[in-house]
Amino acid sequence: MRNIAMIAVFAILLSFFMYIALNPADFGYSGEGLNFGHPRFTDMDDYFIHNAQNQTASNNVVTSIVFDYRGFDTLGEATVLFTAVLGVGLGLRMLRGDEDDE
């Protein structure tokens, strides 16, 4: 019984993925819902694509968005990583182990 359910879930997921993979451009294009390949709002994309090379002198538009136009996102991500390392260090220092280090 569980094998039949597993195979059914596998078949449904695989057919869904195959439909998306083989028709990437027109999946949900007309109307509401997911829009792979045809985003509905393109004004911001056109601005970045046409002006990023002149304004930041960077060939990689993704990097120019991540570090320049949307720099606060990267600042938040760096702070999240810093806080994660802080939490790992504070949590693991309670365990026994390498006490004679530094």
């Binding site: 760096a78 693991l92 182990g97």
Partner: protein
């Protein structure tokens, strides 16, 4: 400490992984990748040598304090670089098209890619790369250092 085969292969692969990681960091404004990805690749190299040699030997070569210091210094450099352009706005790219270091202009469209461009982006890439390599390497070393191994 693993077998001699693993250690020899780790000796061979470690400099290549480090070079590839720093390549990703320094060419972040030209090719896909950037500070975060390059730092993650370098931390993978650190994880390779830690797994191959064991923590008892590796803690004399790579110290946790150095990695956490690198993390703090990277984050500080990132924020300072963002603050220098405060005259216009926070995160203002004051070096782009200025003629100074990293200040050359590029033509619009397809071009071969020049390293001396993009203003503050390479500096921020380097800062974030140092921060990420310190942070993720420190997580690996903390996991290896504390707690004791369970034998079944």
């Amino acid at each position: 400490m693993m077998s001699k085969i693993v250690r020899t292969q780790a000796n061979f692969l470690y400099p290549l992984i480090l070079i590839f990681g720093f390549y990703i960091v320094m060419h972040g404004h030209l090719t896909p990748g950037g500070g975060f990805q390059g730092g993650a690749v370098i931390a993978t190299g650190i994880a390779l040598v830690v797994v191959a040699y064991g923590y008892e030997k590796i803690k004399r070569w790579i110290k946790k304090t150095h990695l956490t210091a690198a993390e703090g210094i990277g984050l500080l450099c990132f924020i300072i670089t963002a603050f220098i352009g405060i005259g216009t706005s926070f995160f203002y790219n004051f070096l782009a098209n200025s003629g100074l270091i990293f200040g050359e202009s590029i033509p619009y469209g397809i071009n071969p890619g020049y390293l001396n461009t993009a203003g503050t982006l390479p500096i921020m890439n380097l800062a974030v790369g140092i921060e990420v390599l310190g942070g993720l390497g420190a997580i690996i070393l903390y996991m290896m250092a504390y707690g004791r191994e369970v034998s079944e």
